[in-house]
């Protein structure tokens, strides 16, 4: 399902602040064309003489046809790479590789979908919502964050979703708590057929547990530190159970970032489970 990615040197069209986030719109025709909901891009940071070797991964928030195709990224400043991105101005250039990863699989037939986003994880859910609605699906949003300023896209969710439920850990907007506190109610109320989720690992784990409880499929988009984003470096792996029941260390960048939630061994992320294929001293070794 991976679209053939390309490298482009795009021009920054606009930069803006959205609460705790920065949004960057970049002219990137070849990338925009091929993007499906859930794809991400690898962005070169730091300019020509930078000491930062690896690209940074960002979900593609929005794609527009303007200027041959633009992509929008939404990000928070974490370290030197995102700090450099936040300093970009219109007309600067940005080197992108994308679209990368496997996008969200879409249901063949119309159904009811709950879209769960944590912090900037919601960025990739709006394009997904569009695609689902085009297929006649009903969509409902559950968005959560530690605080109101880190909750991304509440307005847009309200406009798009049949219902939108917000949670913040400090209660500064919506319900005080986590998305998993409200998710069972939303699933029950909407009689949801499927859950899509994007956000921090702990949230994905919780969302998956809820979906399993309701016995409905759940698609999660994971975030793992990536050195290449194109599947060649093997640094972004996590333990995922295959169709054959065997756990393998698979790449988040090309085998994911979207996985069926119940296949991801969340508790074992950051370890090599003893029963994984090729684990030291393990049964498949």
């Amino acid at each position: 399902m991976a679209a053939s990615p390309v490298q482009v040197t795009g021009t920054v069209l606009t930069t803006r602040r959205v609460d705790a986030y920065h949004a960057l719109t970049v002219v990137a025709p070849g990338v925009a064309d091929r993007t499906r909901p859930g794809h991400f891009v690898g962005v070169a940071v730091g300019g020509p003489s930078t000491s930062m070797l690896t690209r940074r991964a960002f979900a593609i928030h929005d794609v527009k046809p303007d200027y041959g195709g633009t992509v929008e990224l939404v990000f928070t400043v974490r370290g030197p790479g995102t700090a450099w991105l936040a300093d970009l101005r219109a007309r600067d250039t940005l080197d992108l590789v994308g679209p990368l990863g496997r996008p969200f699989p879409l249901p063949r037939d119309p159904c009811t979908c709950v879209l769960v986003g944590g912090e900037y994880g919601s960025a990739s859910l709006f394009a997904l919502g569009d695609a689902l609605q085009q297929r006649g699906c009903r969509i409902d949003f559950v968005l959560g964050a530690p605080s109101a300023d880190r909750l991304f896209g509440a307005l847009r969710a309200r406009r798009m979703g049949e219902t939108t439920t917000l949670t913040t850990e400090d209660g500064s907007i919506g319900m005080r708590g986590k998305v998993t506190d409200v998710l069972p109610g939303v699933i029950a109320d909407t009689r949801a057929d499927v859950v899509y989720a994007c956000g921090p690992m702990a949230m994905l784990q919780g969302v998956t547990a809820v979906a399993v409880e309701f016995d409905i499929p759940v698609q999660v988009a994971v975030e793992e530190a990536m050195a290449c984003g194109i599947g060649v470096c093997m640094t972004c792996v996590l333990p995922v159970i295959g169709d054959d029941g065997v756990t393998r260390m698979v790449r988040a960048c090309t085998d994911g970032p979207v996985f069926r939630g119940e296949r991801v061994r969340f508790e074992d992320v950051g370890t090599i489970p003893f029963d994984a294929l090729g684990a030291p001293g393990g049964r498949h070794a």
Binding site: S4, P5, Q7, A44, S51, M52, L53, T54, R55, V97, E224, A225, A227, C228, G229, I230, G231, V232, C233, M234, T235, C236, V237, L238, R248, M249, T254, V269, G270, T271, I272, A276, L277, G278, A279, P280, G282, H284, A285
Partner: protein, 307 residues
């Protein structure tokens, strides 16, 4: 232009970006006998102009490699250098034997940066005699017309001595350098950045170490073909290795940043060679050893100095 072992995936991933049959050769990640799940994550940490990794030779094992990966490369006609890694001399030998009948193996590269389980985990590449032993047994198990390349790491007191041992052991060529061992500590979690603690350092940060190794070994063993690598990101970097004595250049971490790195660097290198009036790459190999105007044999005796 070659890919560096462990940096080009199975070949399929890069084939999305360019034609892998146009590579000088595709070098596989180091293949092991059994499947290996590798090291826990985090497996990578960025450092200034460098990258630490501790992937731990994750791979499907030689059988799956021979059925699922090599044929794909062979069918397309890609020149394939198969890198092998093991924990004992016997394991390397067994791997070489297993590869001996496989069609489409252009050369075998022996990754000597593996811990020797029979020598308290001491890395083969740090000990000339065990490195030579591995090379000799792989050489013996490999078809006579398939070259055996010994891949060395820089964290030794005397790279020339290790290189000489490998050549004496039967290596047809040398690949330099594998990653030196490095480490970083996350000052926020106050723990090592990598789950494995230490990892291999790659990228432009190590280029000066790599160029120095190539220079020293070419000076000492001018007849031995050297594949230079370590921080190559541009045609200028590649030319630096060629002038120091490499007759081929491999690209590793740069692929993570630029998936088109190999064809781009190849093109840049060709332009630089043309600008400098070289008809063939071979004419530039090791040229930095000869002061301008001196005859081709007039090697200088610049000594090493860390002072």
């Amino acid at each position: 232009m070659l890919t560096a072992s462990g940096c080009g995936g199975t070949g399929r991933e890069l084939a999305q970006f360019f034609d892998v049959t146009r590579l000088g050769a595709f070098v596989t990640r180091s293949i092991t006998m059994a499947p290996r799940a590798g090291r826990p994550t985090p497996r990578m940490a960025e450092t200034p102009s460098g990258l630490l990794n501790a992937v731990g030779l994750q791979g499907p094992g030689v059988e799956a490699f021979l059925t699922q990966e090599l044929p794909w490369l062979a069918e397309r006609g890609a020149r394939t250098v198969v890198s092998i890694g093991g924990g004992t001399v016997a394991e390397y030998t067994a791997l070489a034997r297993r590869l001996a009948d496989a069609p489409g193996v252009t050369a075998v590269e022996v990754n000597l940066s593996c811990p020797n389980v029979e020598d308290r985990g001491r890395v083969f590449a740090r000990d000339g005699s065990s490195a030579a032993e591995v090379v000799a047994s792989v050489r013996a198990a490999t078809r006579y017309d398939v070259p055996v390349i010994a891949k060395l790491a820089p964290d030794v007191a005397d790279i020339v001595a290790v290189a000489r041992s490998c050549v004496d052991g039967g290596a047809d060529a040398l690949a330099m350098i594998n990653t030196p061992v490095g480490m970083s500590v996350d000052v926020d979690t106050m723990r090592p950045s990598l789950a494995a603690g230490t990892g291999g350092l790659s990228g432009p940060a190590i280029r000066p170490l790599a160029v120095r190794c190539v220079w020293q070994v070419h000076a000492a063993l001018p007849g031995v073909p050297i594949i230079g690598m370590g921080g190559v990101t541009s045609g200028r970097d590649a030319l630096e290795f060629v002038l120091a004595g490499a007759c081929a250049v491999a690209v590793g971490s740069a692929l993570f940043h630029d998936p088109y790195a190999c064809p781009r660097i190849q093109r840049e290198l060709e332009e630089l060679l043309t600008e400098r009036g070289f008809d063939r790459l071979a004419d530039a190999v090791g040229l930095a050893h000869h002061p301008p105007g001196s005859g081709p044999r007039g090697r200088t005796d610049l000594e090493e100095s860390s002072l």
